[in-house]
Point group: C2
Chain length 84, copies 2
C-alpha cells in the first residue's frame, strides 16, 4: 500500500521560494504564469493491506509529524498497488 | 487554469531527508511504514485558457527550470478550475 501526502502552505502564508520561482519564470518570458506555490510531496510505503487502518495511520503521522498544522494543510491519496 | 507539477527523485537517487523521516517514524512506533520519499509539489496558476498550450508550456518550464532531469522526474496535472 502506498500513500501520497500532498503538503501545501496555507493560502495566508507567504511562500518566498514560490515567489522567487515566479519572478524567474516571468523574467524568462513565461508571462502567462501568475502564481507559483511550492509544497511537499511525501510518498510512504506501508506493509498494511487494510486501506482504512492505513489511512488512519497516515493521517495521524501526517498531522503529528510530517506537517506543521499552523502553516500547512495536507491531503492523502492511497494507492493500493504494490507492484508499481 | 491551474497546473500541479509533482517532482520526485529518481528511484536510483538516495533521499537522505526521506530516510531520516523513515527512521523517526519507526522509532516512534510506526513500524508499518517501510519507505519514505520526499519530493516537491509545485502549483502554478496560468492565465491561459487553452489546455493544450498550457500543458506544453508547463512541460517546457518544468523540464528546463523547475526540475533537474538528471535526478528527478515529474508529472503534470492540469485543473481547469479558476474558481477554486
Amino acid at each position: 500500500m502506498r500513500a501520497r501526502v500532498s503538503v501545501r502552505l496555507k493560502p495566508a502564508i507567504l511562500d518566498p521560494q514560490g515567489k522567487t520561482v515566479l519572478h524567474a519564470l516571468q523574467q524568462l518570458g513565461y508571462n502567462e504564469v501568475n502564481s507559483v506555490r511550492i509544497g511537499k510531496l511525501i510518498e510512504l510505503e506501508l506493509n498494511s493491506s487494510d486501506a482504512d487502518s492505513a489511512k488512519t495511520q497516515v493521517e495521524e503521522l501526517s498531522r503529528k509529524l510530517l506537517t506543521n498544522p499552523l502553516m500547512e494543510t495536507f491531503d492523502i491519496e492511497l494507492v493500493d498497488d504494490e507492484g508499481d
